[in-house]
């Protein structure tokens, strides 16, 4: 229908009545589609708007049913930063997300390369196990894992039980990178081998530069995973507020500030904002990752 609009008007033959109804219908459809689009956009955007507006209300107004702030209390954000622990949670989150992401990429890339390009017995089985692990909720093995980290290694109250495993390959990252590396033509690898490169050098000198978009997608997903993780910090770090992450600590704002929705919402904005900023800078890698795996994002 809308193709009609796309053809330049002057190229068309003198307008017949049939053409005119077609054009009118196309215009009507354009209006209907975009009205629906605006309605949908409101549904997606208004929650952000109300959260942001509430975050700027005064304490007393936050208890009212008002939708917009009377006075714009930017100091609420200062108060959130001044809350004991908030900066520590930032630091912990960056450590968990940053270090975790680096470890995941470094440990998952060689595995993904082997699964994509080597021929060996048990490869399909390994791939199926990787996919199974990817689909498995962390709660399934949490009891033995907790006993291992907390009782045997005495690491409860820290984030290390969440960071260390990332040095041993992450199933989702392996799968995503493997899907990406499948698209790297074998000719490049063969050419590198003719030039006398071993597998490791081929991986580092030839595959790594070509796999940058895939690596970017994996790094993003892993960063978001750590940033959003609630269950992990709840299990291992809950006993020690000094080890909390933002996602875990955020909830305590509601408790600490009782019904002060304004400060709770300011903290919520501060937890959402970095993720959304990162997305804007890396949108392409992100969408690529989603379509490549079709799994999560």
């Amino acid at each position: 229908m809308t193709q009609v609009l796309d053809t330049p008007v002057e190229l068309r033959a003198p307008v017949s009545p049939a053409d005119r109804t077609a054009r009118r219908r196309a215009l009507l459809e354009w209006v209907a589609v975009h009205a629906l689009g605006v309605a949908a956009a409101l549904f997606f955007v208004l929650p952000f708007v109300f959260v942001f507006l509430t975050s700027l209300m005064s304490d007393s107004q936050a208890l009212s049913r008002d939708l917009t702030p009377n006075t714009w209390e930017w100091g609420n954000y200062q108060k959130v930063f001044d809350t004991p622990g908030f900066l520590t949670w930032w630091r912990n989150t960056l450590l968990y997300a940053g270090l975790g992401t680096v470890l995941t990429v470094v440990s998952s890339l060689p595995v993904a390369y082997a699964l994509a390009k080597f021929r060996f017995r048990g490869r399909n089985l390994s791939l199926m196990l990787v996919i199974s692990m990817m689909m498995l909720p962390p709660q399934v093995v949490i009891i033995p894992m907790y006993l291992f980290w907390a009782k045997q290694l005495g690491l409860s109250g820290t984030l290390w039980p969440l960071i260390i495993p990332m040095a041993f390959g992450d199933a989702f990252s392996i799968f995503l990178l493997r899907q990406f590396l499948m698209t790297v033509p074998n000719e490049y690898l063969d050419a590198a081998k003719v030039d006398g490169c071993g597998e490791l050098r081929t991986l580092l000198k030839v595959v790594l530069p070509m796999a940058k978009p895939g690596i970017a997608a994996v790094a993003l997903f892993q960063f978001f995973y750590a940033w959003n993780d609630y269950f992990g910090p709840q299990i291992y770090a809950s006993e020690n507020p000094g080890a909390w992450t933002l996602s875990y600590g955020l909830e305590s704002f509601k408790g600490a500030h009782h019904t002060d929705w304004n400060l709770t919402m300011a903290a919520t904005v501060l937890v959402m904002a970095p993720v959304i900023l990162v997305f804007f800078f890396a949108q392409k890698a992100f969408v690529e990752g989603v379509t490549l795996t079709g799994v999560k994002g």
């Binding site: 109300f50 208890l63 390959g169 408790g255």
Partner: protein
């Protein structure tokens, strides 16, 4: 003669050496995952099975208890069946609504010709909101006292439900939250819809097919594998649904979080209980590790069942890559 056999023998041993080298190389490249798989998956999974038959509270050494934990979970643990019922509700309502809504938004975005990029970004953004933050936001938006949603509903003269504070409305509220974060399905459906061959639409149009007929007989058959994929991954995600119902329940009940805080999961009235929450409740609130492992194994069996289905249905997901 002898020189020939010698040469072939040397070639054969050279081949064996090469194979050995290749096997070593494969093991070296796979080693991070081989270790990760054994230490963080296979071994703890085996221990989960072992502990499910033990009585263990983390302090006294574990003792054999036979099938006691299993009968406790299935027959006496008051949260097990409510959690399973909630999961079933979520699978039937939340998953199907998410698939339908995701398809609808995907269709809409392929029809939008002006400002496509802006619309797509706006539709996608909520999906990025960290689950805890998004849940906190909805707990505020939907709070019965001062929440903007109920303010607006009352102004328009519509009934204002209790949302996260009402057992009948807590799951619909979670569904609303899940529909808000539709971005992942939107992108997947959008890609699938753009892949439908244009000629088929043109042919259908020539045959005088209406918009609905074109959707029913051209679009739907073409994207049905993706719909299936969305349904099955939706079911798997529902089995693992944890952060949103837990945080919603805790915030709505007004429990203050802190070290060693005790809270009753599933507020209000067990209506937001899901299976992963039971593992936490049994293991980390009741210190009944054995029963927690029973629930963990139920969760494992359910997840694997649907994952196996996914791998069989969608050959495209795991191609051998030759």
């Amino acid at each position: 003669m002898s020189t020939i056999t010698l040469a072939s023998k040397r070639r054969r041993s050279g081949l064996a050496a090469k194979q050995r080298k290749q096997a070593l190389r494969t093991i070296a490249f796979m080693s991070p995952w081989l270790i990760g798989f054994s230490v963080f998956f296979a071994y703890p999974l085996a221990s989960t099975v072992y502990f499910s038959f033990m009585h263990y509270d983390g302090f006294k050494p574990p003792t054999w208890s036979g099938t006691q934990n299993w009968t406790y979970v299935f027959e006496h643990y008051p949260f097990f069946w409510p959690a399973l019922r909630n999961t079933l509700w979520l699978v039937m309502v939340m998953v199907s609504l998410r698939v339908a809504f995701g398809l609808g938004v995907g269709l809409l975005i392929t029809k939008i010709k002006t400002g496509t990029g802006i619309f797509r970004t706006l539709f996608y953004l909520p999906y990025l909101a960290p689950p805890v933050a998004a849940t906190m936001a909805f707990a505020f938006l939907l709070n019965p006292g001062t929440g903007p949603v109920n303010s607006v509903l009352e102004k328009v003269g519509l009934p204002a439900p209790g949302w996260f504070n009402d057992p009948a409305w807590s799951k619909p509220a979670l569904t609303l939250l899940a529909l808000w974060g539709i971005g992942d399905l939107m992108v997947i459906f959008m890609a699938a819809l753009l892949d439908v061959p244009q000629e088929q639409y043109e042919a259908a149009e020539l045959d005088g097919a209406s918009a609905w007929q074109r959707f029913r007989y051209v679009t739907l058959p073409n994207i049905s594998p993706i719909v299936m994929f969305a349904v099955v991954t939706g079911v798997i995600q529902t089995m693992q649904y944890y952060t949103q119902p837990l945080v919603a329940g805790k915030v709505a009940s007004g429990v203050i979080q802190g070290a060693g805080t005790q809270f009753e999961p599933g507020y209000p009235d067990k209506s937001t209980l899901t299976i992963p929450q039971l593992v936490y409740n049994l293991g980390f609130q009741r210190f009944d590790y054995g029963s927690a492992c029973v629930v963990a194994l139920v969760l494992f069996a359910l997840s694997m069942m649907f994952t196996a289905f996914l791998m069989r249905r969608r050959g495209g997901l795991i191609q051998a890559g030759d």
